[in-house]
């Protein structure tokens, strides 16, 4: 059953972009033990990251998105365990099973192949070291490169992120503003030319104007350097801004996965629709917002059947007993719900009411 699903997803992927996916995740399960019980943080997640795309993982607190991001580069806390699943990495014709890598190989995988920028990143700097020292330390820790070449790379990347390279490279972290530090982190993540970049809440701690420059920068960097990107956020508007494809996560699973325009204008899962209806826009007339009733589920004691059913306006008896699996609904658009048609009709009504039927969308 899962192989069917995987092959369906792969099929559509190969239709869209013939290049092999740099990262494939199949049926990933991550759990960790708490005193109260077993927390099922990631449950059966399957997706491909296509070459050169930016994939957004959207979800609220406690949906497992950060755990998933950490699992991809195996940086989970000791108490967490990857119960099951496969993570495959491909580059230049070579295929690597990430979960089977030994710790030493894993360390060179991280940063060289796949770099991560964390959520609390602004505090990730060592206050007594200059930026250059931290960059060189990072390079050394993950594979190393001659010092001269490293310095050249560093200066080049600092220029890419629109900082004054000479000034910043010898500065201490406290001499830089929040936005500048975030840009340094982006530059650091690209030092060893990774194929994949994972960003966890990249702009959460930033002001509106600073966030704007970082978002524009990320778009430009991706176009210039051609890496694939996974960014994790609770902020739908950032996904609308940056993503090529969006995956909505709820209670540890991906409940909907598709191109950004499909997700926003033609959602098929009640949670996705609920999120869209709960987020206001700044431009345009006043819109009434609708909240999602209830609260996020306890990951130790999940509801039976579809984990969203207690909060879902379309739930039926079937939803209480059976958990829907992520299946293809339309071309390149997969959803885990039995009532996608009803959701879709509701979404159409909502966007029609808006007036601006999205014309010219791809």
């Amino acid at each position: 059953m899962r192989d069917d699903r995987a092959s369906i997803l792969n099929q559509s992927a190969s239709q869209k972009s013939p290049a092999p996916s740099p990262l494939s995740v199949r049926d990933l399960w991550v759990e960790y033990q708490l005193e109260r019980g077993m927390v099922k943080a990631v449950r059966g997640v399957t997706f491909d990251l296509r070459k050169g795309e930016s994939l957004s993982l959207i979800g609220e607190s406690g949906c497992g998105k950060t755990t998933l991001g950490l699992a991809l580069i195996r940086l989970l806390v000791k108490a967490a365990a990857i119960r099951r699943g496969q993570i495959t990495y491909r580059r230049n014709g070579r295929t690597t099973d990430v979960l089977a890598l030994k710790e030493r190989d894993m360390r060179s995988f991280r940063w060289r192949e796949c770099a991560m920028v964390f959520q609390s990143a602004l505090n990730a700097f060592n206050p007594v070291l200059r930026i250059w020292d931290q960059m060189y330390d990072t390079i050394r820790a993950h594979g190393g490169m001659p010092k001269g070449q490293a310095r050249e790379n560093a200066l080049r990347l600092l220029g890419y992120v629109q900082l004054d390279p000479e000034r910043v490279i010898d500065a201490y972290p406290h001499e830089l503003s929040g936005g500048m530090r975030q840009r340094v982190l982006l530059a650091m993540s690209l030092l060893l030319d990774p194929q994949i970049l994972i960003l966890d809440e990249p702009t959460t701690a930033l002001d509106i104007l600073t966030q704007r420059t970082i978002l524009d920068l990320m778009k430009r960097l991706k176009a210039q350097l051609g890496f694939s990107m996974i960014f994790i956020s609770h902020d739908l508007s950032i996904a609308a801004e940056l993503a090529d494809r969006v995956a909505t996560m709820y209670a540890g699973s991906i409940v909907e996965l598709g191109p950004v325009n499909d997700i926003f204008y033609r959602p098929a899962h009640p949670y996705t629709l609920g999120l869209i209806r709960a987020v206001p826009t700044v431009t345009g007339e006043f819109e009434d917002l609708i909240s999602i009733s209830g609260s996020p589920p306890d990951l130790i004691d999940l509801p039976s059947g579809c984990t969203f059913h207690p909060r879902c306006p379309y739930a039926t008896e079937r939803c209480q007993g059976e958990e829907p699996v992520l299946t293809l609904y339309e071309e390149d658009h997969a959803v885990a719900c039995f009532h996608s048609d009803r959701v879709r009709r509701e979404a159409d009504v909502m966007w029609k009411r808006h007036g601006d039927q999205p014309a010219g969308e791809v």
Binding site: V282, S291, D356, E361
Partner: protein, 331 residues
């Protein structure tokens, strides 16, 4: 013009020693009418939280006045000051820090009721606490009265904070980023509950936020005041500000916000600022504080003379030389 319920006159607040002084709030004058909703909007460090705390009486201004019902707050006698303290309540941003972890919800709500004589016995206090939880939409109340804060989610805790603020029947509530740390799907419910307080209890609101979309939603029938580095740069009704901002900073903010609508957000015209540097509060730019970044900058004018808040229409103010000029020429 109707009377203001709360008004600040040339409010100033500085922090730090004489040598190194930071002016968090600089000569701020703002009035809120009874029953109105005013959103105070700005980025971090602009002084909006400090302003909120001063208005709620939790901080004393360094200069200037806060008037409640027309009378200076800090010149009142003990009874008068108490009336003001209880009449203006503040709701904090962080749901994980705003409730005492050692008290049950019932204890948290009963304490002010008993202390101020709103209830004369524990039984009465408990009844009233249950009523307040119902108003804050935290039902079924029996489930929550005996719980401790750590057993509640962020959104539920914020509702308890609101219920606690309501124990003393305030006429004015300052909500300091009250929904910023709450999940998106819960946020709307909270905002709707607060709006209902306005309708049913006639509470006046000062809503502080950095999120323009939330400000637009909550204060659509009210006004938005935009702050930058301690001063107001624009005050206008929400529909006006969102559709036709006058101040370059307001324009930049509105243009910079990403929208939850892919086509809309990718088509949005971005405004390029002259500089990325955020001004340091210890070394403020001369003249207009925004001039180093302002795309409309005029040398000789904007860097020498500080613009004041000038009227730019009925009930609208802007602090910008260029915008003020344009206003004169408007029909």
């Amino acid at each position: 013009m109707a009377e203001y319920l709360i008004e600040t006159c040339n409010l100033t607040r500085t922090f730090g020693s004489r040598r190194e002084q930071v002016t968090a709030v600089d000569n701020l004058s703002l009035g809120v009418h009874e029953g109105e909703v005013v959103c105070l909007v700005g980025e971090s460090g602009c002084g909006k939280t400090t302003t909120g705390k001063i208005i709620a009486g939790l901080l004393q201004p360094t200069a200037g006045q806060v008037l409640y019902q027309g009378r200076d707050v800090w010149a009142r006698d003990k009874a008068g000051f108490k009336g003001y303290r209880l009449g203006v309540q503040l709701i904090h941003q962080d749901p994980y820090a705003s409730l005492n972890p050692s008290h049950t919800i019932c204890q948290t709500l009963s304490a002010p009721l008993l202390h101020h004589g709103f209830a004369t016995s524990h039984r009465q206090a408990r009844e009233r606490a249950a009523e307040l939880l119902e108003i804050a939409d935290l039902t079924p109340v029996e489930d929550f009265l005996t719980k401790y804060p750590h057993q509640l989610s962020g959104g539920q805790r914020q509702r308890v904070s609101v219920a606690r603020a309501l124990t003393v029947s305030p006429s004015f509530i300052v909500a300091d980023e009250a929904v910023s740390m709450v999940d998106v799907s819960i946020r709307v419910g909270l905002l709707n509950m607060l709006s209902r307080l306005k309708e049913s209890l006639g509470v006046t609101f000062l809503f502080i936020t950095h999120d323009l979309a939330v400000a637009k939603f909550f204060a659509w029938e009210g006004r938005i005041a935009v702050m930058y580095v301690g001063s107001l740069v624009e005050v206008a009704s929400t529909p006006q500000l969102v559709s036709d901002p006058l101040h370059p900073y307001s324009k930049a903010l509105l243009a910079a916000v990403p929208e939850a609508d892919p086509v809309l957000t990718r088509r949005k015209e971005r405004i390029r600022l002259r500089s990325q540097d955020i001004p340091s509060l210890l070394n403020l730019p001369s003249g207009c504080r925004f001039h180093p970044r302002c795309p409309c900058f005029e040398e000789g004018l904007c860097d020498t003379e500080r613009p004041g808040l000038t009227p730019a229409d009925d009930n609208r103010y802007v602090a910008c030389h260029i915008a003020a000029r344009g206003v004169g020429a408007r029909p």
